[in-house]
């Protein structure tokens, strides 16, 4: 018998032996029985649900962080510190569609409120081109400096407008001594006499008109108008003025000119609108004044 024939017989014998040992397949021959959910299946589903809930909670937290960063950028709106309460667990029921949960409502932060500003325009009659118009709006004192020179035996400028809290310097530019003083109530001061090139200063913190004189030269008169806020304007030579960027609302507006009593009126400023106010001041002639001791000026000579 040849080797090839022996090998074929061996193979056939092996196949036959396997067929006898294994027998027919039960899976192919028996009908399929219906399979019911077991306790293990339910536990598996519960576990999956728990995983999904954990994922949703994590997503909500991430969204929360995103919204908080947005709020920090815009500066408006609020986001609840805690994530929304977790919805009740869903009971898994086989062969039923899963209930749909509503998506979490995201409230967009409000846009920042636009500040309302308007303009006041108008004219002051009787001011001789030296009138000042200002609003009686209280603001914190400023840290600023301004100067009123003493030059050619005059104060220059003759009228100075400063915001309350401003330091006013009085440099002496003349070859003669000067002595700047004021007897204005609540803003009185006496800087003493000082020579050319020197300067002394005073900080004015109370709104109002501060009239300054020189104790040596009676013809020297200056006016410092201390205003309560930055909302003021000097009129042109024809009396026109414009005050821009005025907060919307009702305000008291005051006009003043040297040697005139302040006059005031009420004005309502609307957002992006121009209100018109006309005022009239009555100027008196310059009044004689005394020296810093309340006495008439002597026959002082340079």
């Amino acid at each position: 018998m040849s080797t090839a024939l022996r090998s074929r017989i061996t193979s056939i014998a092996l196949i036959a032996a396997c067929a006898v040992v294994l027998g027919p397949s039960t899976a192919e021959t028996q009908p399929k029985k219906p399979r019911y959910a077991t306790q293990a299946d339910l536990e598996r589903v519960e576990k999956k649900l728990d995983e999904q809930r954990a994922l949703v909670t994590r997503l909500i937290k991430l969204q929360q962080q995103y919204l908080q960063s947005l709020v920090a950028l815009t500066g408006e709106g609020t986001v609840p510190a805690e994530p929304p309460p977790e919805p009740p667990p869903i009971t898994a029921k086989p062969d039923e569609p899963k209930p749909v949960r509503p998506a979490p409502v995201v409230v967009a932060p409000r846009p920042p409120a636009k500040p309302a500003f308007g303009t006041i325009v108008g004219k002051v009659k009787g001011g001789g081109g030296e009138a000042v118009v200002y609003l009686d709006i209280q603001a914190p004192p400023v840290r600023a400096t301004a100067a009123m020179k003493q030059q050619n035996r005059q104060f220059l400028p003759r009228v100075l407008v400063v915001q309350k809290g401003t330091q006013v310097d009085f440099p002496n530019m003349d070859t003669v001594f000067h002595n700047v003083f004021s007897v204005t109530p609540a803003s009185s001061f006496d800087l003493g006499s000082y020579r050319q090139g020197e300067s002394k200063s005073v900080t004015l913190s109370k709104p109002g008109v501060v009239t300054v004189y020189c104790n040596m030269h009676p013809q020297m008169v200056g006016h410092v108008l201390v205003v309560p806020s930055s909302h003021y304007a000097r009129t042109g030579k024809d009396g026109f003025y414009k005050i821009a960027n005025v907060p919307a609302g009702k305000h008291k507006i005051v006009a003043w000119a040297p040697n005139a009593k302040p006059v005031s009126s009420q004005v309502e400023v609307l957002d992006s609108e121009a209100a018109t106010v006309e005022l009239e001041v009555v100027r008196r002639g310059s009044q004689p004044h005394t020296n810093k001791d309340g006495l008439p000026y002597g026959s002082y000579k340079d």
Binding site: T119, R234, G236, K237, Y241, K242, E273
Partner: protein, 159 residues
């Protein structure tokens, strides 16, 4: 009736104010050098003519259409007069300032009135396009107020 009377008063004030806008200043013969856009005094500017022939006409017509008329105005007519008004406002802005504008501060006031007028005429045109009657009425009255404010300051004979 009250509305008609007030509207007529507005028109009268407007018409009176516009009648001699740009009239010569008191110092005739000299040239005003101060103020931006100042015109030589003693000469009539184009502002007077423009006010009489265009601005006053379109504004008065619009007051009739919007404030006084009890009948529905054809949208095309309303649109036409609105465009006339806007064109007149544009034309005023292109002209030299009246001689009463002497200082830089006066120039700012005059420009403020011009800006307000242009903005409100644009708002009015938008209200016409949207057929928003209450907005039309309110805006037209604002335009009239701006006209009167401007005339009060920059006309010698209108107080």
């Amino acid at each position: 009736m009250v509305r008609t009377t007030s509207a007529l008063g507005l028109v009268c004030a407007f018409a009176a104010g516009c009648s001699s806008a740009g009239a010569p200043a008191t110092s005739s013969g000299s040239t005003t050098t101060s103020g931006v856009g100042a015109v030589p005094t003693g000469q009539k500017s184009g502002l007077d003519k423009l006010m009489r022939t265009r601005m006053n006409k379109s504004y008065t017509q619009l007051v009739f259409y919007v404030l006084d008329s009890d009948i529905d105005v054809e949208p095309a007519k309303l649109q036409h007069e609105t465009e006339e008004l806007r064109a007149a406002v544009e034309a005023v802005r292109a002209l030299p300032m009246p001689p009463m504008v002497q200082s830089d501060e006066a120039r700012e006031v005059y420009v403020t009135f011009n800006d307000t007028l242009q903005r409100d005429s644009d708002v009015f045109a938008a209200a016409v396009a949207a057929s928003d009657r209450p907005k039309m009425e309110a805006t037209l009255q604002k335009i009239g107020k701006t006209c009167n404010d401007c005339h009060r300051f920059f006309r010698v004979d209108v107080k």
